[in-house]
């Protein structure tokens, strides 16, 4: 410990060490830890009238969580959110893996820059506007219905936004690039000679991917899946813009709690959502056998 401070002061100086302690301290304590703990504390207290706060009724209780686990509708929405987010993640992975591989290892030269530009442009446009574009396509009088009517396939417009389909489709579109870039980044570092060597030894394309490319791309796949799942499960905009009353999302339940001024209940629901995302991340780490460090490179 004494060596630690001695070395730190020697390398970075008093001002340097103070700078690190102050900046990281503020961030860690006042922006990460305390707000999180306070939210957790909120979730463990009952909703009370202002005069009762701090009074005898203000005690820790699991009531808010019990409310959640006994509310059949909320539980159903919760599981639907998990399930749909999982589908979004899988579809995005299926679409992105070939694209990332193509960009990283097949195409060469100036074409890469152009294709990357093609990926970055939609990435930089506001998430809400990306979802809005799909609203225009899927609306009752939208482009898709008009096209189908024009082609004589249907007579009356279909309400695409009735189920969860529209939300899932829109989310896949909105978050797909969070899957492409992490996978692309790890695949780029794969030595092309390894692929040539494997092919030279007579391995089929399928086997090359299973034995060489996939193991190498594991950290990228893990981070892409974690990010996509987290964004999908935590999205507010997609169900707002593309959903119908029948496709209520868990974040909307949280939102409703806050709008009804039941912050304690809302905090409990938010904690549940956070736990879900953490569990998903740890499952990803286990499945792909990567460390947190590789996950955020």
């Amino acid at each position: 410990m004494r060596d630690f401070w001695k070395n730190a002061l020697r390398d970075l100086g008093k001002i340097g060490v103070a700078y690190i302690i102050i900046t990281v301290g503020i961030w860690l304590v006042f922006m990460i830890l305390i707000p999180q703990l306070i939210m957790f504390d909120y979730s463990l207290r009952p909703m009370l009238a202002l005069r009762d706060i701090g009074g005898p009724k203000d005690v820790w209780t699991l009531k808010n969580y019990i409310v959640f686990f006994t509310n059949k509708l909320h539980m159903a929405i919760f599981f639907k959110t998990i399930w749909s987010s999982f589908i979004v993640t899988l579809v995005a992975l299926a679409i992105c893996y070939p694209i990332a591989f193509y960009l990283a290892k097949v195409v060469r030269g100036g074409k890469v820059g152009l294709l990357m530009l093609g990926l970055i442009i939609p990435y930089w446009i506001n998430e809400l506007l990306r979802l809005f574009a799909w609203q225009l396509i899927l609306a009752d009088s939208g482009i898709l219905n008009q096209l189908l009517i024009l082609l004589g396939i249907i007579v009356d417009p279909i309400n695409f936004r009735a189920g969860n389909g529209a939300v899932i489709l829109g989310m896949t579109y909105a978050y797909i690039l969070f899957m492409v870039f992490p996978i692309y980044n790890v695949m780029e570092s794969l030595d092309r000679n390894q692929l040539d060597a494997a092919r030279d030894l007579g391995a089929s394309w399928l086997r090359i991917h299973r034995r060489i490319v996939m193991p190498h791309a594991k950290p990228g796949i893990a981070v892409g899946c974690t990010m996509t799942f987290m964004l999908a499960a935590g999205t507010v905009a997609a169900p707002q813009l593309l959903g119908s009353p029948s496709s209520f999302w868990f974040t909307q339940v949280i939102n409703t709690n806050f709008e009804c001024a039941n912050w304690n209940q809302g905090a409990a629901y938010a904690t549940v959502l956070m736990l879900l995302c953490m569990i998903f991340m740890f499952i990803m780490l286990k499945i792909f056998k990567v460390g947190l460090k590789e996950l955020t490179q």
Binding site: L28, I95, I99, A133, G142, M274, Q297
Partner: protein, 267 residues
């Protein structure tokens, strides 16, 4: 052999075409609608080419106020996240301590947390414990919580490639810690600091989830868009999207142009 290769090429080409159509067609439709005089944001019926939606957008004072707020928030987030991110990067790359991996995990956790949770927790802390009502300030802090993690990772990846003997050489030649930092370390980190400024600005400017819960009654541009899209949909939103798309394309092309020029300079 040859024919199987050409089939492969056709499949790959078709897949790419489909993928980029999926990425760009919605944006193209949105752009076309922005120029249709139809009140309902649809391509058909086509009621003639017009710039009126851009005019309508420009007349919307709420939009301008939200835009101004977005700039205030984004600049503040940059001012908070980049210096703290630098501190975090120095902590994790320059100091050796046992809990290093744990601290790293905690400092990157905001990236892996859903945005709404950061918004909610920031709001709860400041609004009810510190008596700071939700507004731009809470939005700034909520966004900065996770944007700082991005900045830190960006700066770290460059700091890891730093050759420490350069600092030693500077010390050896009589430089003080302050001089070493300003003349050796900071110039080396400069490209990463510039990218993290750009990243922090864009992340903040685009943020919806965290802001929505933290900002109270104020509006940034994404909140304004969200409100508009939920209530009354007008092609003015398409006009706004076109402005975004145009700015993005200009930005991307300038970036790519400058990057290529840099590459030529290095050679």
């Amino acid at each position: 052999m040859k024919s199987s290769k050409s089939i492969f090429r056709i499949v790959v080409g078709a897949y790419l075409a489909l993928f980029f159509a999926y990425m760009f067609l919605p944006l193209i439709f949105m752009t076309i609608i922005a120029f249709n005089a139809n009140e309902v944001p649809q391509i058909t019926p086509w009621k003639g080419f017009t710039f009126m939606w851009f005019g309508e957008l420009a007349k919307d004072e709420q939009m301008w106020k939200a835009l101004l707020n977005s700039f205030i928030v984004a600049f503040s987030v940059v001012a908070i996240s980049v210096p703290i991110g630098l501190g975090g990067a120095l902590l994790l790359t320059r100091l050796q301590f046992k809990a290093r991996d744990f601290v790293y995990g905690v400092l990157v956790s905001p990236i892996l947390t859903p945005g709404i949770i950061l918004g909610i927790s920031t709001f709860l802390f400041w609004d009810s414990y510190m008596n700071v009502p939700g507004g731009l300030w809470t939005a700034i802090l909520g966004q900065a919580t996770f944007i700082t993690s991005y900045c830190m990772l960006l700066i770290m990846s460059r700091a890891q490639r730093f050759d420490l003997t350069q600092e030693e050489a500077a010390f050896d030649l009589g430089a003080s810690h302050r001089q070493v930092f300003w003349k050796i370390t900071l110039p080396f980190l400069r490209p990463a600091l510039i990218s993290s400024v750009a990243l922090a600005f864009m992340q903040s400017f685009d943020n919806y989830n965290t802001t929505l819960f933290a900002i109270g009654v104020e509006q940034t541009l994404p909140i304004y868009i969200g409100t508009k899209l939920r209530s009354f949909i007008s092609p003015a939103m398409n006009a706004l999207a076109v402005v975004f798309i145009a700015l993005t394309i200009i930005g991307a092309i300038t970036y790519e142009y400058r990057r290529r020029r840099e590459l030529i300079k290095i050679r």
